[in-house]
């Protein structure tokens, strides 16, 4: 899922202070699960923004609403009336959600209330870790299911770099060496011979280096 975290309140206040009526719009999908932009966070951030307005003498009013998914037209339409009656929207969705709302309301300023961080998983209660860089050309099958792009600080396809200390990454000693994990995993599934193959340079054209990406499924188009 997409993992995000809340922007600091003063940063959001600075963005919205010229407006009179502001909608704080939550998203009920990924950012709800990562405790950043769901109904509860909408309530907390809205309260904080109202307090900030009264402490600093700003005149904006805050309305709260949460929709099921901000990256889906069907759900965005549900909020059309609420969006229409406000001067601006602070989206607590991921970057895709913010842009989805902005693209559908030409004259409405839409601001991000969260910093979208990465694609990851819930590691343990309230701890999320990055697992996928969405590079567009998955190589997980060659590395025992551990992504060298995401888990190795140097994104090495032919690792390890030799700089790890015990099993710690030399770039961030608080993290495990991705290549140590790959080695252990390949050993445990009996595929260590994969490491003998030299991997050619990766085609980053399928990643963001080739510009924003689009996927079209002709068989599903109407």
């Amino acid at each position: 899922m997409i993992v995000a975290e809340r922007k600091k309140i003063p940063e959001i206040v600075e963005i919205i202070k010229p407006h009179k009526k502001v909608l704080v719009l939550g998203c009920g999908t990924c950012v709800t699960v990562c405790l950043a932009g769901g109904e509860r966070e909408v309530s907390i951030i809205s309260s904080a923004l109202r307090i900030a307005a009264r402490v600093n003498g700003y005149e904006y009013e805050i309305e709260e609403h949460t929709i099921e998914r901000q990256c889906d037209n069907v759900f965005i339409e549900e909020a059309s009336e609420i969006i229409a009656r406000n001067d601006a929207v602070v989206s607590l969705g991921c970057g895709a959600g913010v842009q989805a709302i902005a693209e559908r309301y030409n004259t409405k300023p839409v601001y991000a209330g969260l910093n979208t961080s990465f694609i990851g998983i819930l590691e343990e209660r309230a701890v999320w870790t990055e697992k996928c860089a969405a590079c567009g050309d998955c190589v997980l099958h060659e590395y025992g299911g551990i992504c060298p792009i995401t888990r190795c600080a140097k994104h090495l396809l032919n690792g390890p770099c030799g700089g790890s200390l015990e099993d710690r990454c030399e770039v961030s000693p608080d993290k495990p060496c991705g290549w140590q994990l790959i080695y252990k995993r390949l050993k445990s599934i009996g595929q260590l011979d994969r490491l003998k193959q030299i991997k050619p340079p990766k085609n980053w054209g399928k990643s963001l280096a080739g510009g924003s990406r689009i996927i079209v499924r002709e068989d599903h188009r109407i």
């Binding site: 509860r40 907390i44 309260s47 904080a48 900030a52 402490v55």
Partner: protein
């Protein structure tokens, strides 16, 4: 025992401090509370195992939020106290009231005088 605690607090009973969420605290401040005191069971003594420990983390998160907003984090405090501890309870409430008086009225308090008088105390029921 007939011990008296200050009359300028309002007690809200909850089944357990674990029921309290950050938004409750924020709503209290938004509605003009000068301070919020959370009185939970002693650590290790929660009937629901870890309700008071959850509350403690939420209070700490709220303190960080208050700092972001330019309000003193001292306006919210969590204490661990058993229902049988009347004298310590009164002392804690007195201390909280003194702290809030020192900080002055919340900028969100609709009352115009300078005397803080709407502390909100949240207490658990055993």
């Amino acid at each position: 025992m007939r011990i008296q605690y200050p009359t300028n607090i309002r007690i809200i009973r909850t089944p357990c401090t674990g029921k309290l969420e950050v938004e409750y605290f924020m709503k209290a401040f938004e509605n003009g509370a000068d301070g919020v005191l959370i009185a939970g069971c002693e650590e290790g003594g929660c009937h629901f195992i870890e309700g008071n420990l959850l509350a403690k983390r939420r209070v700490n998160y709220t303190r960080e939020l208050l700092k972001e907003l330019g309000l003193s984090p001292e306006r919210i405090r969590m204490v661990n106290i058993s229902a049988a501890m009347a004298r310590p309870f009164v002392d804690i409430v007195n201390d909280m009231v003194e702290t809030i008086k020192g900080l002055g009225q919340s900028p969100l308090n609709p009352k115009k005088d300078n005397q803080p008088n709407t502390n909100t105390t949240l207490e658990i029921t055993k």
